[in-house]
Symmetry: D2
Subunit: 306 residues, 4 copies
Amino acid sequence: MTADYQKILDHIAIDVRPSFARGKIADYIPALAAAPRDCFGMAVICVSGDEYVVGEADRRFSVQSISKVFALNMALRAIGAPLWDRLGREPSGNPFNSLVQLEYENGVPRNPFINAGALVVVDRLMDVCADPKVAMLDFVREAAGCDDIGFDQEVAASEAAWGYRNRALANFLKGFGNLRHDVDEVLDIYFHHCALAMSCREISRAFVHLANGGISPRTGAAVTKPEHTKQVNALMLTCGLYDSVGDFACRVGIPGKSGVGGGIAAVIPGILSICVYSPGLDESGNSLAGTRALEIFTTESAISIF
Amino acid sequence: MTADYQKILDHIAIDVRPSFARGKIADYIPALAAAPRDCFGMAVICVSGDEYVVGEADRRFSVQSISKVFALNMALRAIGAPLWDRLGREPSGNPFNSLVQLEYENGVPRNPFINAGALVVVDRLMDVCADPKVAMLDFVREAAGCDDIGFDQEVAASEAAWGYRNRALANFLKGFGNLRHDVDEVLDIYFHHCALAMSCREISRAFVHLANGGISPRTGAAVTKPEHTKQVNALMLTCGLYDSVGDFACRVGIPGKSGVGGGIAAVIPGILSICVYSPGLDESGNSLAGTRALEIFTTESAISIF
Amino acid sequence: MTADYQKILDHIAIDVRPSFARGKIADYIPALAAAPRDCFGMAVICVSGDEYVVGEADRRFSVQSISKVFALNMALRAIGAPLWDRLGREPSGNPFNSLVQLEYENGVPRNPFINAGALVVVDRLMDVCADPKVAMLDFVREAAGCDDIGFDQEVAASEAAWGYRNRALANFLKGFGNLRHDVDEVLDIYFHHCALAMSCREISRAFVHLANGGISPRTGAAVTKPEHTKQVNALMLTCGLYDSVGDFACRVGIPGKSGVGGGIAAVIPGILSICVYSPGLDESGNSLAGTRALEIFTTESAISIF
Amino acid sequence: MTADYQKILDHIAIDVRPSFARGKIADYIPALAAAPRDCFGMAVICVSGDEYVVGEADRRFSVQSISKVFALNMALRAIGAPLWDRLGREPSGNPFNSLVQLEYENGVPRNPFINAGALVVVDRLMDVCADPKVAMLDFVREAAGCDDIGFDQEVAASEAAWGYRNRALANFLKGFGNLRHDVDEVLDIYFHHCALAMSCREISRAFVHLANGGISPRTGAAVTKPEHTKQVNALMLTCGLYDSVGDFACRVGIPGKSGVGGGIAAVIPGILSICVYSPGLDESGNSLAGTRALEIFTTESAISIF
């Protein structure tokens, strides 16, 4: 089996090259627009601890919305079920940064993976963490076994400078009484979480407990409880891919979470975690080559959850 | 393992009783309003062919939207990928009979499990079947190995008499050019499909190929292609439970499809299919005791896809 | 003053010619698509009884939504304030045939001039008229003093054959319980009302009581009560011009009602009624040359209500 | 005629008393919640210069959205037609502080009287005024002939402290590129404009040019051009009364603008301006006794524009 994964990765790295040119680099903030269009990396971490990589698997990039999975992990661990008092867990059927549904549903975000939902998660983390920025670094450094993971301050500053839509969402939530903390502080933490810089290998390591019932294969520690692990995976599958949730489920068939930085992290429960990076995005904001790479991976390895 | 399933089912049948009183019987048509509130049945069919049942597993009831899975099966088999030319495969984030999203998205239904999407599936079946009502009976009789499955004509007539919202949807689709056939003929077929009467055991049998890569364990025949099997399961998980898709994924964690008649059919890929019946519905229109029964089943058997 | 109106009309007829080419003929039904793009007519009827015309003021055309004013007149006269129990009187901010707002507002149409509202008006007329088609003919023949006004049966048949969106609206209303009569009968009446064929002169005559406190200058009879006259004019101003209500109010500044057949009827309270016909429409569905003609008329005559 | 107005006002002041108890004081900010529920005042200013008052016509209150008329006046005077490049002039059919329509229409507010539209007006004023707060004071002091009109700084501070929804709107507009200036500066000016404190007499005086073709009867100066006067009146009639535009047009029948402080200012073109104050609001946010007072006024004086 071991040889197969490496062979599949090597094959994928060649196969996806023609698609690089069709992707569109996120340009809503200057700091992301400079990403190299032809860059590609991929890492697989098995629950056995085996690792397989191809391409620039150790190059760090802006994780963006992939951080929402880490924040949800942290919030479920610290707060548990009461997290859902002010937050839904249904797919939205609307753009990730839409205010429409939030208005119709009185300020309760549909799920933790749209921006409004992630802001509520941050607000809840502020109740239980002295410093949710430090807590996030602690979480991913521990999960990935890598002490120098940090925030890309240029990206964080760029998000803050251009984040009018997110500022609108946060004020809207506050107007509905669904943020308890100061709007600017919530946004500052949120922008830093999005600006986390990690490599495919590091992200895969920080996801592999989700393939292993919540237990880190590396340390043996329980990163999340089993029932929370199931929830996180269920929410990634139903809400993790922007407006392409169903398409991704049909084509790739595993729980995943994308970010506009070009990364997609995914999990095959019981078997492995996987992360792919290629900054060119499709129309839904998901990595174009990344989605194709994951589709090839589940097809050639013949493992999907369906 | 065999003994366990029976034990779990027996336990469930007792455990869910207190919830019967809280359910609400669908009353949008008189023919459904007479369903017995305290009725409960459940059937499990393993890919090995083993069957386990409890309660009124052989009592037939109105399958309603569960028939949308059969129709999708038939359409994928006959038409394949071009089915998606006039039909999406994303969760809707809106009520199953909403016209709002359909208007904003120019008459292309979000997925085949909302009513508008099922009408488009019927319209496509009319291109390839001489008589899609007969074809549906042939499909489920063959899949369930039971020759006397039929339509409840009283329910079909009741749907037709009271189906103003569905008639609105069909005319709306026709106005957008996304129905090719006569509106009344499409609706007649759709209402009959919904009025299919089957038991838990029959529905489970008709679903078990979806747990077995598309192959019927009973006959060895390919009911659906492997890639279509994956799609149907992916769409059930992301779109199969009305407005409780995410909640069902978090709690139950397997692909399923509910009907307002009180049935929920589900699949654990590689292992088994399962169907539960209890007519009392929760606020989302899913069987209240049925959802709880499936949650207990996946928890006690410790099998979910996540 | 008399001389001025004729001079203004003559001037307008020349001035609007260049705009004919920019209009778009309604083509949603074949029977309307054949309208002559360069046709133009206009008629003014003063409360004194004086009449002024230019161009093809006696050519009959399909009045379409202008008939909604007649239907509202008839319903207010027969039913009075209870008409508003199932019908709003606010501008919609949405397309005239939208189902979105109707869904959010539980089947109560925003006003009598959007299609859904007009269907409710017809449904109410069916409570009080033996035959609302005959009643409409009686109303407009009496109001216009012209016994041979009738329905264009080709247009009525074309509306019925292609009216999927209206059929969707009517079934949607019925589903909400806001139509009491048979959907097909309501639609048949509605389609006939829209298919009324009248000339600018006839329409102006049938509107002039609205400029005269409800009294017909020709017969001295009270066509509408004073308070209903005020309401009809207020509703035309706030809801009568599809998505260009505000623009029309700013530019023309008088209550009016347009139809996709190319007519616009308007009222200057206390002074006159006016009707213009030119079948080329602007993007909102209002007669392009007709709107311009009315703008010139109120500017040159220096009479607006503002 | 003179005697009549006074008699009507005196009668109204008695007639509306029973309705005070049914109104709801705006309480979204603490500074408004203290308004006296039983307070009532009314002022009429004729184009002849004659003034009629009743009750607390000289008591100052928070004008709130009535200031949007002054801002629009100022912007039309300074900028003219290009104001409409980034701003519509259609009724919205949605709540005054809704973000829904703004999202669907890409950040172009429907009209200058919803909050988003007023923010765009402020942004445009910042292009042409050194200090739009001072400019507003200059405008209303000159128009009302009263040099000590000012902002209620407590209200302005309260708006700023609690104005999350407006902050959301402003950031949303900025995200769409439809605000050029700094969000906080725009909001500061907007909150001050809303916090303008004026009496019924002062507001009526500041509106009377709108009844007089743009000319101040007091000074003879052109406050607005005739075409802008027509536009402002048309927009008040179609967009000035929150969600009760049509109802107000039917019942009262004249252009008006309400504020949640309890004031309603209105205009009878060619004849007079009128302002009424009573802080109890109806469900739409319009003064309950104020709307009733204006309905009686137009009914008893038999002057409406329809």
